[in-house]
Amino acid sequence: MVLKIEQDWGRFREIVRGKIKENLRKYIVHSELIGKKGKDIVSIPVPQIEIPRFVHSPQKAGGVGQGKGEEGTPIAIGEGEGESKAGNQPGEHILEVELTLEEMAQILGEELELPNIEPKGKKNIKSFSGRYTDIHTAGPESLRHFKRTFKEALKRQIIMGAYDPENPVITPISEDKRYKAREPVEEPAYNAVVIYIMDVSGSMGSEQKEIVRIESFWIDTWLRYQYKDIETRYIVHDAVAHEVDRDTFFSVKESGGTIISSAYKLCRKVIIDRYPPQEWNIYVFHFSDGDNWSRDDTSECIEILEEFLLPSVNLFCYGQVESPYGSGQFYYDLEDNLGDKENLVLSKIPDKDAIYDSIKQFLGRGR
């Protein structure tokens, strides 16, 4: 039985890719839908392509179920399955579409119109990752280039007068053999490091951290697409700053007050110790609710930024998440004092929906 589903399937996937582009915004806000699977496969659930029809509004229609429970007991009927389950209508099932990180980054880049990054600190090294485009006279038999080998043999036989057009037998001898070989390609290698700094003071709630988590995921995805190898460092701070690993970064409990300069100092130390700015492309992302301890400390932050951080890094991004407790003053302080710096990006992220715009602000400069 020969079935033609491949064609329809391919077509569907093409459309879905287009679909993702249109609705990317939605996927970024639906954080719970993003998860890593396997090595670098991410499964993003996307809605199926819904064909609009005249249907009853599922929320108004309700339905009939079976099972235990008092009146008023909430029930999980699944995404969109409330719609006439007794019928045969396919509901609005959520469909997971797998994309590689690279594909996702491409989509992200296209959608947000992100410019490719022009790295600094070029350091050319030769790598042998090149393609087999060269021909050598020696090599393993498995790489023998038959056509070239026979051409050589033909040439030799003609020169020697051993070639008979009536009876074109060509016998290569070992000198005739040619082998495919890799051509070394000069590939620039760039080093890049991303330093995430997060305020974990008492005023940062779990919702704010969720925003940071999502945003940093997308930033990571994009930068990893732009640079082959990338290092990430994580710094959390309340009144003091610590360098932590990734898991801790996203799980550490909030407490204490906020002294932002502690984090900036630690960041400075990390850069000086490990990442000399002339060799590294450095990205710093700082997320906070902007409620710093004192004006003095803010002045100190501005000083560190102006004197060390901004001259050293490609990009310093400050994302201010809104929390019910924060004043958000830090944002304005930075804006007033350093607003004219090219590689300082300020962004406000009041809620999940704003993540999209914020990423665009951060990465839209192509640095």
Binding site: I75, G82, Q89
Partner: protein
């Protein structure tokens, strides 16, 4: 090629099925691997369909779901003569036996249930034929063009009149003169009076007036287009929309396929229930061996599992059939039983009538889900099986149990099943405002439409109609008219 072992099961089970009185078309079994099964399922059971991404979408869903182990399609059977049934390669023997019995249940239902009587029994060929036609149009007009048009059609594919195969709704087209004559005659019809002075009593003035009024109404109605509101919107479009011939042909194919699938939706509960009833009957009474019983029970319970909030048609249907059989065996029906007020007596009621088997065969012949539920869902059954209605709570954003009241459950269930759970949409005017615009009415049954989608559908309709299209519906208790190009406005 069917493995000889499976062939043996088929023959054995077929014999039992015939002994029980099932009556089916010849069934052609094929054993397929999961990939083929997934593909066939994506194509709605048919090996050849016209090219369209939605089948790919189905495939994506089904194959993903299979590879994550979320579900597995054990069997598929298509309503055709001969019927085609696909068995999944690598299933255990007991699974295959169960599935084979299940298939015979379905085919018996296809063949005998009246709602299927008008379906095309050569649909396998017809689907292949559609595929050829669509491919030809693709060659001629380009894949984009054809696909875009199909996309538009799909959004209205369910706008058919599911009862029309059984009802003569359309009036024969009579010759124009004949109709004129008829009109004239009607307009002046007077009863004959023997004496002139009696005339004003036999034909009183208001009677004459009434007749005139009716004649006038009739005249106006005839000017209307369509004369009567048309539920078969697709047919109306095929006959009247200004589209290319090939587009008309695609519309008619889509409509034909819609009518083919409609009875399966109309009888989902019964059909699955019937098949489940028979696989359990045949297997437990005749086929399974002692060592297979656990695997059988495992599979069977999986088929009938219920989750809160979702009605499992297999379960509901099968239990109802069993209930009916039991009631008719014991004579738990009729006036005497209904009027008995003694709970104890009612519970132990047994007139030893033994009419159960006969009754369920009758039910599978004449009923569809709506009439089935309407007639046989009893209060006892509803309570015993814990049915409830649920509703959306705006405050919590969750669905929650609303009521276990029998009347409400039944009402809701019937609502969900009526017209396959789809809203009823009719064309009332194809020449609205005398500007050739299309006016549709949603016959509001208490539940509003999903408005954003409705607007998109209108848009698609206007692509076919090529003129503004209107939809009259009720939103939050107020009559509103939406139009395809200008958006919403209050009437």
């Amino acid at each position: 090629m069917i493995p000889s072992e499976i062939q043996r099961y088929i023959e054995e089970i077929k014999k039992h099925a015939l002994d029980y009185g099932l009556d089916f078309f010849e069934v052609v079994f094929e054993v397929v691997d999961f990939e083929e099964m997934n593909m066939l399922a994506s194509y709605g059971g048919f090996p050849i369909r016209y090219p369209h991404w939605r089948f790919g979408m189905e495939y994506e869903k089904i194959s993903k779901s299979y590879s994550y182990g979320l579900h597995k399609i054990y069997e598929m059977v298509i309503n055709n003569d001969p019927a085609y049934a696909y068995l999944l390669k690598g299933n255990t023997d007991i699974d295959q036996k169960l599935v084979i019995a299940h298939v015979y249940g379905h085919v018996d239902f296809f063949k005998n249930n009246l709602w299927f009587s008008k379906t095309n029994r050569k649909m396998l060929d017809e689907m292949a034929n559609h595929a050829v036609r669509v491919r030809r149009y693709i060659d001629r007009y380009g894949p984009e063009e054809v696909e875009n048009f199909i996309d538009v059609c799909l959004s209205i594919e369910d706008l058919i009149d599911i009862h029309s195969p059984f009802i003569k709704r359309r009036h024969e087209r009579k010759g124009l003169l004949e109709r004129e004559d008829e009109g004239e005659r009607k307009a002046i019809s007077k009863l004959r009076s023997p004496n002139e002075y009696l005339d004003e009593y036999i034909n009183p003035e208001d009677f004459i007036e009434w007749q005139k009024k009716k004649a006038e109404e009739e005249r106006i109605r005839r000017k209307r287009f369509p004369e009567y509101p048309e539920r078969d919107v697709l047919l109306f479009l095929i006959e009247n929309a200004p589209v290319e011939e090939w587009q008309r042909d695609i519309l008619s194919m889509i409509r034909e396929e819609s009518y083919y699938y409609a009875p399966q939706i109309q009888t989902k509960i019964m059909n699955e229930g019937w098949a489940a009833y028979w696989h359990s009957k045949i297997l437990t009474e005749k086929v399974i061996t002692d060592r297979e019983i656990i695997d059988y029970a495992d599979h069977h319970s999986g088929t009938l599992a219920t989750r809160p909030g979702v009605i499992n048609p297999y379960k509901l249907g099968m239990e109802l059939f069993k209930d009916i059989e039991d009631r008719w065996n014991k004579g738990k029906f009729g006036r005497e039983y209904e009027e008995c007020n003694d709970i104890e007596e009612k519970r132990n009621w047994d007139r030893k009538l033994g009419l159960g088997r006969e009754k369920i065969f009758e039910v599978r012949k004449f009923y569809n889900d709506v009439t089935f539920i309407d007639e046989f869902l009893t209060e006892d059954f509803c309570r015993e099986h814990g049915l409830f209605t649920y509703t959306y709570n705006r405050a919590t954003g969750m669905y929650e149990i609303e009521s276990r009241d029998f009347k409400k459950v039944k009402e809701k269930l019937l609502f969900l099943l009526t017209n396959c759970g789809r809203p009823i949409i009719e064309v009332v005017d194809g020449n609205y405002m005398n500007r050739g615009e299309l006016y549709l009415i949603h016959r509001h049954e208490g539940v509003d439409l999903k408005i954003d989608w409705a607007k998109d559908v209108l848009n698609n309709l206007s692509k076919i109609w090529k003129r503004p299209v209107y939809l009259e519906t009720v939103v939050e208790g107020k009559v509103r008219v939406f139009s395809a190009d200008a958006g919403a406005h209050r009437k």
